[in-house]
C-alpha cells in the first residue's frame, strides 16, 4: 500500500514537472523572416535565395531542428526596392519572424540595418556587396555572410598580377560599384606597367550595347574588364558575340560568370575567366554534404546565389546554437567574433565589422559533365580580406 502511494506521489511529481522540463529544453522556435525579390528586377536572384533558404530550413527541421528548436519561416516580397523591402521586413519582424535573411541589392540591406534594434531583429546579408554595410552603416545585429566589394577588389589586385595581356579596356555599370570595380582594375594593371586604353560606363538598364561595343572594337585591346550586372550583363555578352568582339577579345569578369548569366548567354561566356563567390567544387566536408543533398533533391548542382543563401542560413542557425537562444539579441552577441564551420570551411565572423572572412575565388566557364558552368581555377586565402573599415563603429 505504502509503495503504491509513493509511486503515486512520484508520478504526480513527474507529471507536474514535465512542462518545466519542456520549457527547460528551450523549444521556442527559430523564426526566420525571409524577405527577397519575388518581383522586380532581382526576381531571378530572389527566387534562388528563397529556394536555398527554404532548403536549409527543411534540412534543419528534418534533423530535429536546431538543438531541438523547430525552424519556422514567413516569406515576404521586397519588390527589389528599399522602400518595399523595409516595409516587408518590418512586418515580418513585428510578427515575430525576426531573424531576417534574403534581400539582394545593397540598397535594401542598407535600408534594413539601421532599424534592427527598433524591430528587435537580426539580419543576415547573403547577396549585397556594398562596403557601406560593413563600413559606416555597420550595425551590431547585421552580419554579412557573403563577399564584400572590398574583398573582391583586394583579390582583383592580386589576380591581375598574373595577367598576360598588354592592353586593356573596361566596361562597367554606371554607378558606385561599377566605377569602383573599373578603377581598381585599372590601378591593378597599371601597377604592372600595362595600359588601359579606354574605360567606358554604360547607364544601368542599357538595352543596346552596340555603341559601347563599337568603341571597344575600335580600341583594339587584348582583354576587356567587364563589371556589368544582371540583364545588362546578359545583353552586353550576347551583343559582344553578335558583333564578333568575343571570342576574339578575352573578357575578364567581375561577378560576371554567375550561373544564371552563363545559362542565359548560351555559349558566349565559354572560356571566360572571372571572380566567383562559389562553385560546387569547393573542397570542404560541409560543402560536399550540401552539394550531395541539393543534388538528391533538385537533380542539379546548386548555383552560386543558392549556395550563398544556404551559407547565410547556416550562419544564422550556428548563431542560434551558440547562443542557446533564438532571440535576435542573443544570436547577434553569440556570433560576434565566432569561429563557424561553413561550406567554405572554418571561417571567422569578424567582431570589428560583422563580416564573415571568407576565401575568394577566380573561375573559368567550362563544360563540366555536359553543362557549361564556372569551375574554380584559383583560390585566394581569407587573409587577403582588407582590414575592417575605420568608419564602422558599433
Amino acid at each position: 500500500m505504502k509503495k503504491t502511494f509513493t509511486r503515486g506521489i512520484l508520478a504526480a511529481a513527474l507529471c507536474a514537472a514535465l512542462p518545466f522540463a519542456a520549457m527547460a529544453k528551450n523549444t521556442d522556435p527559430v523564426r526566420v523572416g525571409l524577405v527577397s525579390s519575388k518581383s522586380g528586377v532581382f526576381a531571378q536572384q530572389g527566387e534562388e535565395v528563397i529556394r536555398a533558404v527554404q532548403f536549409a530550413i527543411e534540412e534543419a527541421n528534418a534533423r530535429g531542428g536546431i538543438d531541438g528548436r523547430k525552424v519556422e519561416v514567413s516569406e515576404a516580397d521586397d519588390e527589389g526596392t528599399p522602400d518595399a523591402g523595409r516595409r516587408a521586413a518590418e512586418k515580418l519582424a513585428r510578427d515575430g519572424y525576426n531573424l531576417l535573411i534574403g534581400p539582394i541589392p545593397s540598397s535594401i540591406s542598407l535600408a534594413l540595418a539601421p532599424n534592427l534594434e527598433r524591430w528587435d531583429a537580426a539580419y543576415f546579408v547573403v547577396a549585397s556587396k556594398s562596403d557601406k554595410i560593413t563600413g559606416d552603416t555597420c550595425k551590431p545585429r547585421a552580419f554579412r555572410t557573403n563577399h564584400s566589394d572590398a574583398m573582391d577588389i583586394a583579390m582583383i589586385g592580386e589576380w591581375a598580377k598574373n595577367f598576360k595581356e598588354k592592353t586593356y579596356a573596361s566596361i562597367a555599370a554606371d554607378y558606385v560599384w561599377g566605377h569602383d570595380s573599373s578603377e581598381s582594375f585599372a590601378k591593378a594593371v597599371k601597377a604592372q606597367g600595362k595600359e588601359v586604353k579606354i574605360q567606358l560606363y554604360a547607364p544601368m538598364g542599357t538595352k543596346d550595347f552596340s555603341p559601347y561595343i563599337a568603341q571597344l572594337k575600335d580600341a583594339g585591346v587584348d582583354a576587356i574588364w567587364v563589371a556589368e550586372i544582371g540583364r545588362d550583363a546578359i545583353a552586353f555578352v550576347k551583343q559582344a558575340q553578335e558583333f564578333g568582339l568575343v571570342p576574339k577579345t578575352r573578357l575578364i569578369g567581375h561577378a560576371l560568370i554567375q550561373n544564371f548569366m552563363v545559362a542565359a548567354t548560351e555559349n558566349a561566356l565559354e572560356g571566360t575567366q572571372g571572380t566567383t563567390a562559389y562553385t560546387p567544387d569547393i573542397d570542404t566536408p560541409r560543402n560536399k554534404a550540401f552539394v550531395a543533398a541539393w543534388q538528391s533533391k533538385f537533380s542539379r548542382l546548386p548555383t552560386d546565389n543558392e549556395a550563398q543563401a544556404y551559407n547565410g542560413a547556416q550562419v544564422m542557425f550556428e548563431g542560434v546554437r551558440k547562443a542557446g537562444s533564438a532571440k535576435p539579441a542573443d544570436v547577434a552577441a553569440a556570433l560576434k567574433g565566432a569561429s563557424i564551420d561553413t561550406i567554405y570551411g572554418t571561417v571567422t565572423m569578424r567582431a570589428a565589422d560583422n563580416q564573415l572572412v571568407l576565401p575568394n575565388f577566380v573561375a573559368r566557364v567550362k563544360p563540366m559533365d555536359g553543362t557549361l558552368r564556372p569551375v574554380i581555377e584559383q583560390t585566394f586565402a581569407p587573409n587577403l580580406t582588407p582590414a575592417p573599415s575605420a568608419l564602422c563603429k558599433m
Binding site: 518581383s39 522586380g40 528586377v41 526576381a43 531571378q44 530572389g46 527566387e47 567606358l200 560606363y201 554604360a202 547607364p203 538598364g205 538595352k207 543596346d208 552596340s210 555603341p211 559601347y212 563599337a214 568603341q215 575600335d218 544582371g230 540583364r231 546578359i234 545583353a235 550576347k238 551583343q239 553578335e242 558583333f243 564578333g244 544564371f260 548569366m261 545559362a263 542565359a264 548567354t265 548560351e266
Partner: protein, 283 residues
C-alpha cells in the same frame, strides 16, 4: 566609327518604329494611352521564344504576331470598347492594371529566369558595311522596320480601310454616321497595333535577353517617341523614333555622361518648340 554609330542608331530607331507605330495607331483610333504596350511587347517576345524552341525562329516571327493580333482583338472587344465613354484616366488605370497582370502571367508561365533566344543561323554572320563589320541580323532588323513603316504608310494612304482609319481617328462619330463600322475597325487596328508590339518583341529577342521586367525597358522610350512625334501621328512617330535612336547611339559615344538624359532633354526641347509634337498640328 561614325558609320557604325549611325548604323546602331538606325537599328534602335527601326525597332522603336515597329514598337511605336502600334502605340500611335491605338491612340489614334481609341484615344487610349496604352501603358500595357510594353507588356504586350514582352508577351510577344516570350511567345516567340516558345515557338522558336518548338519549331523555328522564322515560324515564331509570324506566329507570335498572329497570336498577339488575336489578343489585341479580344482586348479591344472586351476592354477598350467597353471603356470608350469613360474618363481617360480610368482607361489609363485599366491599361496599367493590365501591365501588372501580363507581367505576373509571364512570370507564372515562363518563370523569373532570364531567357535567351539564339540568333537564327541564316543571319548569324557579319557583313562588311563601308569598312565596318556589322551583324547581318541587325540589317534584318532594319529591313523589318522599314517594311513595317512603308507597309503601314501605303496602307493608310491608298487602301479603302486606310481611309476609314484616317477618318475615324479624325472624327469617329461622323465616320460611323457615314456607314463605317468603327467598332470592327478599331478591333482590327488594336489587333494590328498589338501584333506590331509582338513583332518588336520577337525581333529584339535575339540580341536582348528575355525577362519579366523587360517591358519597362522599352515603354519609356516608346512614350518619349510618341510624345515627341505628336500623339497618334504615325509619321511623327517614325521621325521621332529615328531621331531618338540616333541621339541614343551617338550620345552614348560622344556625350557618355549625359546619355541617359538626352532623350528627355530632346523631349522637353521639342515640346517647348512645338507643344503638340512634330506632327501635332491637330488638336
Amino acid at each position: 566609327m561614325l558609320t557604325i554609330n549611325l548604323f546602331n542608331g538606325l537599328v534602335y530607331g527601326t525597332l522603336l518604329i515597329v514598337m511605336c507605330s502600334g502605340l500611335a495607331l491605338i491612340y489614334g483610333l481609341r484615344r487610349v494611352v496604352n501603358f500595357a504596350h510594353g507588356s504586350l511587347y514582352m508577351l510577344g517576345a516570350y511567345i516567340g521564344y516558345s515557338v522558336a524552341a518548338h519549331a523555328d525562329f522564322w515560324v515564331a516571327l509570324f506566329v507570335a504576331p498572329a497570336v498577339m493580333a488575336a489578343i489585341g482583338v479580344v482586348l479591344d472587344r472586351y476592354g477598350f470598347r467597353l471603356l470608350q465613354d469613360r474618363d481617360p484616366l480610368t482607361v489609363v488605370l485599366v491599361t496599367f492594371g493590365l501591365l501588372l497582370v501580363i507581367e505576373d502571367f509571364v512570370q507564372t508561365v515562363w518563370g523569373k529566369s532570364n531567357l535567351s533566344l539564339a540568333t537564327p543561323d541564316a543571319l548569324n554572320f557579319a557583313v562588311n558595311l563601308f569598312g565596318t563589320q556589322v551583324p547581318a541580323y541587325r540589317i534584318g532588323v532594319i529591313v523589318v522596320g522599314a517594311a513595317v513603316a512603308l507597309g503601314l504608310s501605303l496602307w493608310l494612304r491608298f487602301s479603302r480601310y486606310g481611309l476609314f482609319v484616317r477618318a475615324a481617328s479624325t472624327d469617329p462619330t461622323t465616320t460611323s454616321m457615314q456607314g463605317v463600322n468603327t467598332d470592327a475597325l478599331s478591333a482590327g487596328v488594336v489587333g494590328l497595333g498589338t501584333a506590331l508590339a509582338g513583332l518588336a518583341g520577337v525581333v529584339s529577342a535575339p540580341f536582348m535577353s528575355l525577362s519579366p521586367s523587360m517591358s519597362a525597358d522599352v515603354i519609356i522610350d516608346s512614350f518619349v517617341v510618341v510624345v515627341i512625334g505628336g500623339l497618334g501621328s504615325l509619321a511623327g512617330a517614325f521621325i521621332a523614333a529615328m531621331v531618338l535612336g540616333m541621339v541614343q547611339a551617338v550620345g552614348a559615344v560622344y556625350l557618355p555622361d549625359a546619355s541617359v538624359l538626352l532623350p528627355f532633354v530632346l523631349m522637353v526641347a521639342i515640346l517647348i518648340w512645338r507643344p503638340a509634337g512634330f506632327a501635332g498640328s491637330r488638336t
